[in-house]
Every structure is written in C-alpha cells, then in structure tokens.
C-alpha cells in the first residue's frame, strides 16, 4: 500500500489492510539477473556488484563441476562406481549458492551437491568414495565446513537447524556472524523432517538458509505430486521469507543466497530459497527418465542451460577472450583426468576396517567379532584354490 492509498483509506474511514512485516514478504516472481540468452538484467532487491574476473571465475566453476559429473557418470558406466547422482543442469544453483558462503559458514548437503563441494574446496575425488563403495563419505566435515552427504531425504535440514542453534548459543550471530545452509530437493519438502526444521528455525529465529533445488522431479514424480503451491510460498506459513530464484542463473543464485546468508548471520533468521532448475540427467545412473518424462521438456530446458548463458554474456560483453574458454576447457579436462585417476587408484578398505569407529573405543563384543573374523580370514591363507 502506498502512502497515497493509506491517506485515502484514512479519509474514507476504511481500515487499511494489515501490512505484512517486511521480512515476511512473499515474492511472486522468478528472480533473474542473467537471462537464458545471456542478457544481464538488474533486480531492485538484488543488486550485484561483480567484476568480469569474478564472472569468469564462476564460469570456470560451472564448467569444471559439469566435467567432474561427466567423468563420474562415465566411471559408473565402466563399472568403477556403483552408482552416481548427477548434478547435470543444476550447476548454477550449486555454484551460485556455494560461492555465496563464507569459509566460516557451514553447509549441509544432500548426496548431489558436488558443485557446492567444489566451491567449499573439497577434493572432488573424495565424493567418489561413497559412490565407489570404499567409504560412506570419509571426508572431515570440519576441514571445509562441508558436512557429509546425507542420503535419507531431508534429515540434514534438522541437523543444519540444530547446528544453527549452536551458533546462537556460541553468540556467533551479529556482526561477523556465522550462518548455516541446508540443501535439499523438491521431493524433500514433503518430508516431516524438513517441515519440522522450518518450525524449529522459525520459532528459534536460527541463522539457517534453506536452499531447495527444485529440479522438477523426485526420481519419477513431478512436482505436482509434492505440492499444490509453489514451494517458496511454504515459507510464509512458517513465518519467514521465501523466494524463487532462477536456479539456472548463477548470478541470481549468488545474489539471493548472499543476501539470505547475510540476513541469517545478522540475526534476522531463516530464509527459504527455491532455486527453480531442472535435472537434465537421470535421478541416478540406475534411473531411466524416458519412462516418465517427455524429451520435449528436456529440450526446452536445454535452452536455459546454466553454462551457455554465462558464456554468451562473457562473449557479448567482451569480458573474455575466446582463448579463455579454451583454457577453462583444458583445465576442466585436467580435473576430470585427475578425478578418474584418483578413482581408479582408490584402494578397497581392508576387510577388518568394517569393525572400526562403531563406538569411541572398541567394545569387548566388537573386539571378539573382529578376532573371530580375522581368524576366519587367516584360515584361508595358503588355500589359494578356495580364495
């Protein structure tokens, strides 16, 4: 309501409609700063000061994470990985969000956040351990403030919220404060844990940002199976702001996530970001999307490719030489080769390592089971025919 409208309402004796608190405002639009055609546009709420060098750095991230993904799919097809969850199509959402974080912030991923992992500085080969079956994760979450992949859908939203409650108790909210980001997908919004996380975050005003990559498909189920309302609007009912950003626009994802994280760090509480994107590949390498979706849909989304638009923008605005793109391709290929080599060289865990780290110390029961199993294995020594 404008000042003029308010004045009119006062004169006519009508009560002005209750104004939404500013932090509760629900944006009905798709926030975009870079169109699919590569045209840079402005948004009044999300001004983004960004240098040519920074945009080129984002482009590099996008190309490299797509290449890591490509390499992992190939490794799965060659039998080197048991399974892989591809991020194809979601690079901008993940790089935009990932680059919006400060090193001191904490990220809680699902099992598809390979792009965020890259931005956090995690060695991409580490991601393959889980999919090769040599560990359940195996990186130190405190080294890059990037938690282990969580496979049960939505569980990590609560972990992120609890971690944010810890930040509050540490007094680390305010200037120079810390915040947490929880990643999940459209399917996860149906989970009780995600909704409980919204409630906890809201009533405690915790410094957590919920970053939902709506890639339109929860394996074979389209969004209509999960929600009758746009996902970002759910936030309103929980009492915090939600917005929808073009998830294929790395600049918009960066700007929106930066703003939400800053608000969280400063004590303004949670935000739900719905990154509107598309899973261009299968759910995982075991999936066959041709059984449940039309190829026309995929073709339409290809026109909104998250990488191509950045390239077009850089070319048209003359912020990058053609040699730059060749250099990035070469570097991406190098990273791909490195990941491939690391994967092939990954040793299998020793059989008895399965007894490690169940508890802080080894219980008598586990010690006995380990001894029994070791003796059993040793009984085969010298019996090559059996092995």
């Amino acid at each position: 309501m404008t000042v003029k409208d308010a004045g009119r309402a006062a004169r006519s004796g009508k009560r002005a409609p209750a104004r939404e608190p500013e932090r509760q405002a629900v944006s009905a639009e798709l926030i975009q700063l870079l169109t699919p055609e590569g045209e840079r546009i402005e948004h009044p709420d999300y001004p983004l000061e960004i240098s040519a060098g920074e945009i080129r750095a984002l482009y590099r991230d996008l190309v490299i994470v797509r290449r890591i993904d490509f390499e992992a799919i190939a490794l799965q097809r060659q039998g080197e990985l048991g399974i892989w969850a591809s991020l194809l199509g979601q690079e901008a959402a993940q790089v935009g969000a990932g680059r919006a974080l400060e090193p001191r912030d904490m990220a809680f991923p699902t099992y598809r956040e390979h792009g965020v992992a890259w931005c956090r500085g995690l060695d991409p080969a580490k991601l393959l351990e889980l999919y090769r079956g040599v560990s359940h994760g195996g990186w130190d979450p405190t080294a890059h403030n990037f938690h282990l992949y969580t496979i049960v859908i939505g569980s990590q939203a609560l972990h992120a919220t609890g971690y944010a409650m810890g930040i509050q108790r540490d007094g680390a909210v305010g200037e120079g404060g810390e915040a947490v980001i929880a990643f999940f997908g459209d399917g996860a919004t149906s989970q009780g844990d995600v909704n409980e996380a919204f409630i906890w975050a809201s009533v405690n005003n915790t410094p957590v940002v919920f970053f939902c990559q709506n890639n339109q498909w929860a394996i074979s189920e389209p969004l209509e199976r999960q929600s009758r309302v746009p996902l970002y609007q759910r936030a309103h009912g929980f009492g915090f702001p939600g917005c929808r950003v073009d998830g294929n626009d790395v600049l918009a994802c960066l700007a929106v996530t930066r703003k939400a994280m800053q608000a969280a760090r400063e004590g303004q509480g949670p935000t739900l970001i719905e990154a509107f994107t598309y899973r261009m590949g299968a759910h995982t390498t075991t999936d066959d999307p041709t059984r449940y979706r039309l190829s026309a849909e995929l073709e339409a989304w290809k026109l909104k490719d998250p990488i191509e638009r950045v390239k077009q923008y850089l070319i048209r605005s003359e912020q990058a030489e053609m040699s730059f793109f060749d250099e990035v391709e070469a570097e991406a290929a190098e990273v791909g080769t490195r990941v491939r080599t690391a994967c092939l060289e990954m040793p299998d865990p020793s059989p008895t390592s399965m007894f490690d780290n169940v508890f802080t110390g080894e219980t008598a029961q586990l010690a006995a089971e380990r001894a029994e199993f070791t003796a059993y294995l040793d009984s085969f020594v010298g019996e090559e025919a059996v092995r």
Partner: protein, 327 residues
C-alpha cells in the same frame, strides 16, 4: 548420603551434568517450566536458563535431529522423549543418523547425545505410555543402550551417559520414579561402576536371574520370597543392554548352572532371546536347564486393566525359576 526418589536422583544427576559440562543442554517437550511430565527436570530451566534447558516444539524427530546438529557444533544434548511410545517419530533420526554418524565419518565426528526415555508399564496408562522398545535400539549398532533400576544408579548413570562421547539411549523405569533409596551425591563419578557393567545385586547360588529397569525391584523381591522355598537366587542387574556385560553374565551362570531372563518387553526377538543364545553358546556345559525367559507375550500392550496379567511379576518369575529345576 541422602534419600532420593528415582525422579529426584535423575534431577540431581542432570543438575550435576549441567554444572560439570558447560556444553550440556537439556531439550524436550515440557522440560522447562513444567519440569517434565515426571518432574525429572524440575527447576533446571530456572537455574540454567532457557538456552540450556530448552522447551522444544512438539515433534520428536525434530528434537533428535536438532540435537544431532547441536552435537556437531560441540554441544552435549540430553533429550527427553516424553513416553516410550512416542520415540518412533524420532526412530529414523536415531537409527539412521545418530547411531551411524561416527561410523560414516570414519571416526571424525562424535555425537554425544543422550536420549532419555521413560519406559515400561504398570501405571494404568492409556496406549503408547507403557511400552518397552529397548530391543529395537539394542539391535542397532552404534548406540549404547542402558537402563537404571534404582535412584543410586540413576544419579550416576545419567552423568556417565552425558559424559559419553557415544550416543546413549537411556531408559528410565517410569513406575519406579517414586521409589526411594540412599544416594551418595558426594561420591566421585570416576569411582562409580561404569555404565556398561552389570551388577550382582543379590548374590545367590542356585539360579541366575537377569533383569534391568523396572524388573530389578521385582526380581530382588522374588529372591527374598524364594528363600522360604530354600532357593538361592542370584539377581543380576544388567544395567547395560548394548553392549551387554557378558563377562558378568557368564561368570554368574557358570556358577549357578541356571538362568532366567526377566523383562517387561515382548520376549520374541527381545534382549532375553539374545542373552539365551549367548549363554547357551558360552555356558553350554555348565547349564542344568535351558535358559528361560519371563516377559510379555507377543501381543501389543493390552488395556491397562489387563496389565497385571501381561507384566511379569514375582509369581511368574518364581514359576520360571521352579521350571529350571524340572530338567
């Protein structure tokens, strides 16, 4: 030495835990002003503040899930699940996350979370308020599952659980909350029996009766009653259900040659079944009779007017003891 109810002993133990561990927190439904529906946390919010004694929204998965996050941040949450039958909304977070995080992280992460659960029947309650789900947790690798039987153990074990770097499922015998016992609140925690050790509560020579939680008192009373029949029952309070203190169990059974396991939980697939298998394997040549179990029949918990028939009592335990002499 001071005489405390089990509820009060837990309260004093929690107070000590909050004093000793600046990172310890209490969280759950109604644990603040109300002091919990059994008053176990009475007065703690007043003394330690709302940031450390947290009234949570009414959602059990949320309680455990956020406790995990707090633990990842360096806190030591002590969660209260209001009743045994209400733990299942949190079952996924407990089994899939809490129990497995250390293993998943190759030992990098610790989750020092305590989950307190009042359990068992005998209080005339409605459905979901009298259950004994301990075997479900004991079956899950990565969880320590313990149960206190009386006030003295309650006081020390809740402190030991809080100090543990592993997740602990802490069962409290709700019908014994108002039982009294002498508790030495000045004793050093380091001198106390570790929480994963069983205790021979009543020494005996003829038969070993293993029990925990609410059945500890029942079994101790049974041992007294059995003396008039000339039977010497050794009562062992298991205290820890995962891991089991098998050394103490086997030592006792090898001496007595007979073993009866008593719990309120359904016998099928229960703690007693596990013990029977292990005792049979390890004490086979010492056994004069098969290991017998006394527990609930394989039905859901009945309406409370029937619970006196459903729950093990002195007579059913004596009957089982008698049967071990019939082989």
């Amino acid at each position: 030495m001071t005489t405390l109810t089990l509820s009060r002993a837990l309260n004093e133990g929690l107070r000590k835990a909050l004093e000793d561990n600046p990172k310890a927190l209490i969280m759950g439904e109604d644990v603040g002003k109300l002091g919990g529906v059994f008053r176990v946390t009475d007065g703690l919010q007043k003394d330690f503040g709302e940031a450390r004694v947290i009234d949570t929204p009414l959602a059990e998965s949320g309680i455990i899930g956020t406790a995990i996050g707090l633990a990842l941040r360096g806190y030591r949450p002590i969660c209260e699940i209001q009743f045994d039958g209400f733990v299942f909304p949190a079952f996924d977070q407990i089994v899939s996350q809490l129990a497995k995080m250390r293993y998943r992280s190759l030992g990098t992460l610790s989750l020092p979370v305590v989950v307190r659960i009042p359990f068992g029947g005998g209080i005339g309650a409605v459905e979901h308020h009298s259950e004994s789900p301990e075997a479900l947790f004991a079956h899950t690798p990565g969880l320590r599952v313990i149960a206190c039987g009386g006030p003295a153990d309650a006081y020390t074990m809740i402190q030991q659980a809080t100090a543990s770097d592993d997740p602990v499922i802490f069962f409290e015998p709700k019908r014994r909350y108002w039982d009294k016992e002498e508790v030495d609140t000045d004793a050093q925690l380091a001198d106390a029996l570790p929480m994963d050790k069983a205790r021979v509560l009543v020494p005996g020579t003829d038969v070993t009766v293993l029990c925990y939680g609410p059945m500890v008192r029942t079994c101790a009373e049974t041992a007294v009653a059995a003396t008039s029949d000339g039977r010497s029952i050794e009562v062992v309070d298991l205290r820890s259900l995962a891991p089991l203190d098998t050394a103490t169990i086997f030592e006792s059974v090898r001496r007595t040659g007979r073993c009866v396991v008593v719990h309120e939980a359904v016998v099928t697939g229960g703690i007693g079944a596990e013990i029977a298998a292990q005792v049979t394997q390890e004490c086979f040549y010492n056994l004069e009779a098969p290991v017998l179990r006394v527990g609930a029949y394989t039905t859901p918990y009945p309406p409370s007017r029937n619970e006196e028939h459903y729950l093990p009592d002195l007579d059913r335990i004596l009957d089982a003891v008698d049967r071990t002499f019939g082989y």
